[in-house]
Subunit: 625 residues, 2 copies
Amino acid sequence: MMAIDRASLIPALKNVATRLRIDSVRATSEAGSGHPTSCMSMAELTAALFFAEMRFDPNDPKNPESDRFVLSKGHAAPILYSAWAETGAFDRAELMKLREIGSDLEGHPTPRLPFVDVATGSLGQGICAAIGTALNARRIKSDYRTYVLLGDGESAEGSVWEAANVAALDKLDNLCGITDVNALGQSRPTMWEHDMGQFERRWKAFGWHAIVIDGHDLSQILDAFAEAKRTTGQPTMILARTLKGKGVSFVEGKGGWHGRPFKKGEELDSALAELERQFVHETESGPAANLAGKIPKPASKPRAVVTPKSVAAPAYSLGDLVATREAYGTALAKLADADPRVVALDADVKNSTFSDRFEKVAPERFYQNFIAEQVMVGAAMGLAARGAIPFPSTFACFLSRAADFVRMAAISNVGIKLAGSHAGVSIGEDGPSQMALEDLAMYRAEPNYTVLYPSDAVSAERLLVLMAYHPGPAYMRTSRPKTPVIYTNDDTFTIGGLKVLRESTADVAVVIGAGITVFEALKAYDQLKASGTAIRVIDLYSVAPVDRAALVAAGRATGGHLITVEDHYAAGGIGDAVAEAVADAGLTVHRLAVREIPRSGKPEELVERFGISAKHIVDAVRLNK
Amino acid sequence: MMAIDRASLIPALKNVATRLRIDSVRATSEAGSGHPTSCMSMAELTAALFFAEMRFDPNDPKNPESDRFVLSKGHAAPILYSAWAETGAFDRAELMKLREIGSDLEGHPTPRLPFVDVATGSLGQGICAAIGTALNARRIKSDYRTYVLLGDGESAEGSVWEAANVAALDKLDNLCGITDVNALGQSRPTMWEHDMGQFERRWKAFGWHAIVIDGHDLSQILDAFAEAKRTTGQPTMILARTLKGKGVSFVEGKGGWHGRPFKKGEELDSALAELERQFVHETESGPAANLAGKIPKPASKPRAVVTPKSVAAPAYSLGDLVATREAYGTALAKLADADPRVVALDADVKNSTFSDRFEKVAPERFYQNFIAEQVMVGAAMGLAARGAIPFPSTFACFLSRAADFVRMAAISNVGIKLAGSHAGVSIGEDGPSQMALEDLAMYRAEPNYTVLYPSDAVSAERLLVLMAYHPGPAYMRTSRPKTPVIYTNDDTFTIGGLKVLRESTADVAVVIGAGITVFEALKAYDQLKASGTAIRVIDLYSVAPVDRAALVAAGRATGGHLITVEDHYAAGGIGDAVAEAVADAGLTVHRLAVREIPRSGKPEELVERFGISAKHIVDAVRLNK
């Protein structure tokens, strides 16, 4: 393909930028909502990126060798859509359906569109996902580059600085950030307005190569991209001074225009007329219409289809004492060996979550984020979007640091496989700050998360493998204390399943536990049996989805008495999951759960004090009978 | 009080440091768990802070003029407790009950202890809370200073950098940070180990005065504190190079000792013997035993008791169309006028949440955090701990960015008054990234949060005032669309209450809505009435706690058919709240809720498509009847 000389390229790109502005303005006016001025500040940056910098195939956006673009400032979605329309990926007329219920051109980008890797629109997340796509290039040994465009207001998010640290530590020179410094936030000027030194000092201090440019000067933009490409051993951040609303004089650089489309009629007409006048005469060698045809295609590499090996079965003996968090680590290491797509991410707790066993097997696929949970989960989202099977893990309570990423992963429907250890009061002496007691509520709330909660080492290993290959996001909750192995190594488990551990025709109640409370239920069974009372005991290892039919059947067989017991707060956990499942059958549930803020103490003391021990189960059965 | 000369002070402080080390080592060995080596690195820093720098009264730790100390690296709790024991605040023998269920000396600090403002132990939060206590000094015009001690590993948390920005922007020269750079994390060396320039460059770039010192050199420590006090217009960060486990040669600076107490017996004895040898001969003028008696007391200022004015009643007419988010802003402005303790915190969305109305009334109590939700909520925690009544607000979905702070606020039981706007699919075209659909699950999960969800402007105003004066943390959910006023200005509301909007003796079902679904329920009522079917309609404006008795009574009066309808995902919201409340009465609930990831569209289209419209209610009533 013949290269275009700079003198011809620039006017052609300028015209693309003008067209992107016009499209963004028209689409948002048609929709009656959206952020045209946030698009207008980044029009030259977008034109240069799509039509003079990135290598990709407009007709095959998911190509594994394609450069990636993440729009971290997701509210500028219209210009992203306009750019893809300009490449020819879809008909420009579609742009006028922006934000309609029947169109995938949503208010903020989602992976309903084939060229969007992860949903953005919650600020400070795109750059974390971009780290994931950049790490993936390294994983698959591809030379594709990742570009991520941020807003300046967005730079206040802590997750941006978590990402800055990790990208520098990982020396991600295949990652290029661009910050659109338009100086205007939603409600007021941004923190540092147009003081470019504030940005430059920060990014340099965080170990990035930083380049300050005029974001409307195409020559400076092209030079900056070239400089970024030449920079080795560190990521580059291009800091582009821009004007919000650039191109329309009555909004350019003015407050009060955030998230406000031009009113149809005089206001819109006047804006469009001014933009139209900005088309420049093009030289012969660089007509804009041809730029789309000149986009360099990604390298075409033969890639072997990954055929994962089968994962070695668990190897325990009944009664062995093994914490589920440890079995998680064991299984993760086996999976590392079986499937090169599996990666693990840590936040400096690998020796507590046992993900260090993965690191020993596959250090090159083990990504250390230090104590920064947002970038850990965000990077996992980017990795998952590019075909990896990522397992980010830390203490379950600290995953809540990334709750908004968990939410956006649901919207993206990306297959991140989260694991949270140290659930519940059963961690003991460390106290409430280290106990996850609301994690099941967080994951269950999302409509497409699989939530698993093994009680023993065998189920932990089996469920981990199921989770790896189940589509979509998933969460596994593991426990700190050692618990006895109760399943045989060839026992089978399913997502959406449960295990009935004790049953008889004389059962007067069904007790449903998961994790450590399974053992409290088994103790209660023994105590009640000694006094002549039989109960059914269920291990609800799959918390979402639950096996509704089996729960209803168990409830009906036992006089309608369902008792749940969980090392979790009362709202949003296992009790609620079971209650909703059996509601339509007219069954109700008695919930044993933690109902106040706990404190430090020995695990067994806390299980007793906070109402989820065998004794409380026995009392509940006797009360219900 | 006679000042001690430096030559006498230093050996005395050195002995305090040694005693703090010994106490931390002994207490953790006795407990059998904990983090002695993380305490040992900060012994000189702690000794200097408590016995040569801070002004406070050991017997009156809550004194409003006292300097504040926040231990952001909460796992070093034993040395915090040892320091307070050393001041004479409690008997040193108590230290040996560390982590026992009967002691308030928990594994990580909580406000069960009178000298702890906010619980720490989830890293990166203490510095955000410290901003709150520093802002509070400004609010009450006190010259108390706030000190916050961080770990180096902790510095990877994005929330630390959110805090760094906000403190610099607010020119908090009454805030002094100390980073204990001991170079060892939990599982491995920290990101930058002992490269002090990495820290210095970052803090300077973020606008702080940074001082690098040897954290075991008391003279350098005292000089740094003096320099921090002299520094005006910006906060100071003291970057202290230390050794983890300092003082015991076989652990000093060595990996593998994080969170590991010395084993009783030879290991402990040898550590203690080495520490004992570090006591230095003291000069006459500075015996350590006297330092506690020489702690400068806080200024004693006469402070008038705040008597809030009554808040003006709502002033609407029935049928007025007003969004609850707007009524929130109106009421918040009235409250600003009525009570000087009320403060508001924003994350650059004040024109969407209407908190800008507060800013107009009380700009000096309006704290702008830009797009940084973690520091916004964390600062609110610090403010609340010091007597302010803080209202942090943003879009409900973006408050999930601070989910871990919400959790720690529950543990702290501090009275933060969170408000989240733009709940649910009813926001429309912006799409799922801007919709909160799991927020009720998040707040309901915490056992001590009040959760309110007004449907109209009158209830929004009334509930906001109730929330302000109700003890403990609270959350109000508001909506984007305008809804008609259905209550009269003198209607009364209670936390834990509900309103029955339609009822008759012929009701065949009870429909329970909140927020925008109240109006869908009223529409359903009208449609069903036209076909001769009567239903009861309840506005469940108090989601936590709920009025169990009224729900059970309504369910029983309508043949046991309870139907909930909510602009929220199915798990963890109103359906679950009602179901648990009525479970013991044997009643079950049919839940209408959003059950898949939504998309962009018009509000009414989305309410219809995702199953929570009047039509779906009518269908559910007909099905149940």
